[in-house]
Symmetry: C2
Subunit: 113 residues, 2 copies
């Protein structure tokens, strides 16, 4: 039982448990409209380790935000793309980004140092 406090009373927390992680919004945004390979994602987001990337992709797949296609080739090839539900998140991510840009740019610089 995960420690989420009453998801029925806080749908925001529920959504946050999806996109609130450090990497998920970045990954979703990187995939975008493309069909993209594991290695390519790893290149686009160099700061993520392949273990973490692998985990995140697995979780996103479980949540039906992305789908995974495995080609039976050698060396292996796997491609990821957004589902309809995943795509529906993109505009929301953009709004979050916008809000951050217009409301926080300066403030956060101080805070983060």
């Amino acid at each position: 039982m995960r420690a989420i406090t009453n998801p029925y009373q806080c749908p925001v927390t529920r959504t946050m448990s999806i996109i609130g992680g450090k990497w998920k919004p970045i990954i979703l945004n990187c995939i975008g409209e493309k069909s993209i390979r594991f290695g390519k994602l790893n290149q686009l987001i160099p700061a993520i380790s392949n273990k973490v990337l692998s985990n995140e992709l697995k979780e996103l797949e479980e949540l039906s935000l992305i789908e995974r296609e495995e080609f039976k080739e050698l060396p292996p090839r796997v491609e990821y793309r957004l589902t309809r539900s995943g795509k529906s998140l993109i505009p929301l991510l953009h709004e979050l980004a916008n809000w951050g840009n217009t409301n926080l740019a300066k403030k956060i610089e101080k805070t983060i140092q």
Copy 2:
């Protein structure tokens, strides 16, 4: 130095560092258009301890999302309300909530269990 990876390349992460916590969206939503006292907030959100509530309020104040007014009375009285910037977050929170309701309601039930 906080471990936020390159906020200039991920404004979503930047916004998340504000509202991505467990309690901040709930608190903002509870304050809403009202001017509200510490104790009242604690009643509205019984699951939060006063230490954590106190921390969150302090952080929200530092980010200029809320403002704090202290009345020099006994027993003490302190009121919190949203700033302009804080109010601008509310519609965004609603969209997040909506997305969660329409896209995740059933899925998450399985996952949480």
